[in-house]
């Protein structure tokens, strides 16, 4: 009995040794460990999996080129399951694992508890899908993000409507949700300030309703050139249909939750064609040379491009950390934080140039306007 147990133990040890052998070869010099916190399981498992794939690609790239500071990098994966509770546990584990910095995570409400823990441990963490404005408004020094804030989208719409669509009269309708209202406010503010166009109509609908003719009639009588609707596709489909039926010709522009396949289904292709949407560029529509090679590698490994914009921001977060380590010559979190904040300027990321502002938000805003074509496809308007 006793013998067989120690025999088993021996086999287990041998197994573990052989599994980790690959790492030991490179770890002649000790590897630099970088955390990746993502929802690998749970409701957003698909997003988490794609983020892991993306980060793996750039990590392999770095290792192939000789690692960082002559040391290999190693990804420490933490699955937060898309739950705030699990997120805090993952953050604690990352801290006790003594990783150099963390990439993560996807959801804004999931990110909040984790980044609080990272802040206390003075550990650099770069979010890739958390767009809520408040995350960078809390004065956290070690929190950054490579994705853009919701209000940047509003500003993008304002510029797009005024400069590109040459709109003089803009109508905005939101749906009273935190996201919809925030985006609507963010779009209205710059238009009011610049005074190049007029906000002729601003009101809210109730999500779940089906008849928006009353509000659309009022809007129509103000003769808007453009309507910006910042709610979700289920109402957006009804709105575009009802306004066209009422004879309102204004260009329809949706926020990044309004226009998708379901929108086309509800509105009908004849009504949906020509509708626009402000949105983060899909990976397939990124135009930089580094994004083209990245996408080719992703497709080679996984047979299809990532289906959402977010995982690529995770790859960029990893690249930013790598650049900071290489540039500052250190893995000390305080040094990295200062480097990211002050010295990293226009680093060529996959989603475009990366620089961070004083509160850790990414500078600039890279959004695209997508158009629904006559055959129901979504193409960026250039």
């Amino acid at each position: 009995m006793k013998r067989s147990r120690s025999g088993l133990l021996l086999i287990a040890v041998a197994l573990v040794m052989s599994l980790s052998f690959g790492y030991y070869v490179m770890a002649a010099k000790e590897p630099i460990r970088i955390g990746l916190q993502a929802p690998i399981t749970g409701p957003w498992a698909y997003e988490g999996e794609m983020a892991r794939n993306c980060v793996q690609i750039v990590a392999d790239e770095v290792n192939k080129a000789g690692g960082l500071l002559g040391r290999p990098v190693e990804i420490v994966l933490g699955d937060d399951q898309g739950s705030p509770k699990q997120s805090a546990l993952v953050a604690q584990r990352m801290v006790s694992d003594k990783v150099a910095a963390v990439v993560g995570t996807y959801g804004s409400s999931i990110n909040d508890p984790a980044s609080a823990i990272y802040e206390r441990a003075e550990l650099v963490n770069i979010a890739y899908g958390s767009t809520a404005e408040k995350l960078t408004e809390q004065g956290r020094k070690y929190f950054f993000r490579t994705c853009f804030r919701d209000d940047k989208q509003g500003a993008f719409f304002a510029a797009f409507a005024v400069d590109k669509l040459k709109a003089k009269r803009v109508a905005i309708i939101h749906d009273n949700t935190t996201f919809g209202k925030g985006l609507a406010e963010a779009a209205r503010r710059p238009i009011l300030e610049q005074k190049k166009a007029e906000i002729v109509f601003y009101d809210a609908i109730t999500p779940g309703e089906r008849d928006f003719t009353a509000i659309l009639l009022n809007m129509g009588k103000q003769n808007p050139d453009v309507l910006y609707f910042t709610g979700y596709y289920s109402e957006a489909g009804l709105i575009i249909r009802q306004m066209r039926t009422l004879g309102i010709k204004a260009t329809f522009v949706g926020g990044n939750a309004a226009v998708n396949d379901e929108f086309v289904k509800i509105a009908g292709l004849n009504m949906a064609a020509g509708a626009l949407q402000t949105q983060e560029p899909l990976p397939t529509d990124l135009d930089y040379p580094q994004s083209k090679t990245f996408l080719a590698e992703y497709i080679r490994r996984h047979k299809e491009p990532p289906s959402s914009p977010w995982p690529v921001y995770a790859a960029d977060a990893f690249k930013a950390i790598a650049a900071a380590i290489e540039g500052s010559g250190s893995t000390d979190s305080k040094v990295l934080m200062n480097y990211l904040r002050n010295s990293l300027k226009d680093y060529p990321g996959i989603t475009g140039p990366i620089s961070f502002d004083a509160i850790g938000d990414r500078e600039g805003a890279i959004y695209l306007a997508y158009e629904v074509t006559a055959d129901g496809k979504f193409v960026p308007l250039r």
């Binding site: 109509f201 109730t206 089906r210 003719t213 009022n218 009588k221 009804l238 509800i266 004849n270």
Partner: protein, 322 residues
């Protein structure tokens, strides 16, 4: 402009030139009447069941929802393969859906309400709520939780704008069909022998039975007509908005129930008036006050009405039965 912006919706309708103001008002009215016609058709189902059985049939909104889904299924499956002209397809889809939902109505009455007819009213209401939950979840399992949409080819896109007032063929159809059905139903109840029997049963089951009326048969007829009308309203709604969802029965059921109370529950012309009034109030509330406050406005009127005239607009004061 700046100060005007915050309340653009509230002010906009008032600040327009006079002729435009009239056009806007008329358009709001047309839209209100269209929605109101759908409310009325659904409200009839509530009011008839209440009139005869003193039961608030909470499952009625779900008959309406299932009618909408059945019409959709007929259109996209069997009828899409056929070479019938569009109007024949639509009629057939409506009739099949109506027949099926009537059958379902009779079944539900037999299984969920008749065994409880002698028990307290509350028990029957709980049973109705149970049926509602059952039907809703069944619809979700059968058709999925995603939005479905009536195919674009199924909706006749004909619009007119006489004098700048936009009216669509669908709107006229909805108003016309609803009005015809309501007048027909009113005639049926007032002018035929069966109608007299329905009225007698509504007054008193026992006395009606003594007069030789088969009360079970009358209730069955009520559960053929009510859900049938609901199914027609469901198909019309599907064609009008195109988008359907398994929760639509709850929201429209609530509005229609409100309409029935507004008009005086148990009273057939009351349901029609209540539905139309509710539709118009909603549109005017959304148009002249604020879209976000529309429901607040509507229910405020309902509360005021219940305080000052608890029996509804056309409801008669009935002595409490002993």
């Amino acid at each position: 402009m700046r100060t005007g912006v915050a309340s653009a919706a509230a002010v906009s309708a008032w600040r327009l030139p006079c002729r435009v103001k009239m056009v806007v008002f008329l358009e709001q009215l047309v839209n209100g009447l269209t929605v109101g016609a759908v409310y009325s058709l659904v409200a009839l189902g509530y009011t008839m069941v209440y009139g005869v059985m003193r039961l608030i049939n909470f499952a009625h909104g779900d008959f309406f929802m299932l009618g909408s889904y059945l019409g959709y299924t007929m259109l996209v499956t069997v009828l899409a393969q056929s070479s019938l002209p569009l109007w024949a397809m639509l009629c057939l889809a409506t009739l099949i859906s109506m027949g099926a939902i009537s059958l379902l109505g009779v079944l539900v009455e037999r299984m969920a309400y008749r065994p409880l007819r002698k028990s307290s009213r509350l028990t029957a209401v709980v049973s109705a709520l149970g049926v509602s939950i059952f039907l809703q979840n069944a619809a979700m399992l059968i058709w999925g939780a995603r939005y479905q949409a009536y195919p674009p080819w199924s909706v006749p896109e004909v619009n007119w704008a006489p004098g700048g007032v936009h009216v669509s063929l669908m709107q006229l159809l909805i108003m016309g069909i609803s009005l015809a059905l309501m007048v027909g139903l009113y005639m049926f109840v007032q002018r035929t022998t069966v109608g007299a029997a329905i009225r007698a049963t509504a007054i008193d089951h026992d006395t009606a039975r003594l007069m030789g009326i088969d009360v079970d048969q009358i209730i069955r007829i009520i559960f053929v007509i009510g859900p049938g009308l609901g199914a027609i309203a469901g198909v019309l709604l599907g064609l009008y908005y195109r988008q359907i969802h398994f929760t639509v029965g709850w929201s429209y059921g609530l509005k229609a129930f409100t309409a029935a109370i507004l008009g005086g529950i148990g009273n057939i012309p009351g349901a029609m008036v209540g539905g139309m009034l509710l539709g118009i109030l909603e549109m005017l509330g959304a148009g002249y006050i604020s879209a976000a406050w529309k429901d607040v406005f509507v229910f405020l009127i309902l509360i005021l009405l219940l305080i000052f005239r608890p029996t509804g607009i056309l409801g008669e004061r009935v002595a409490e039965k002993v």
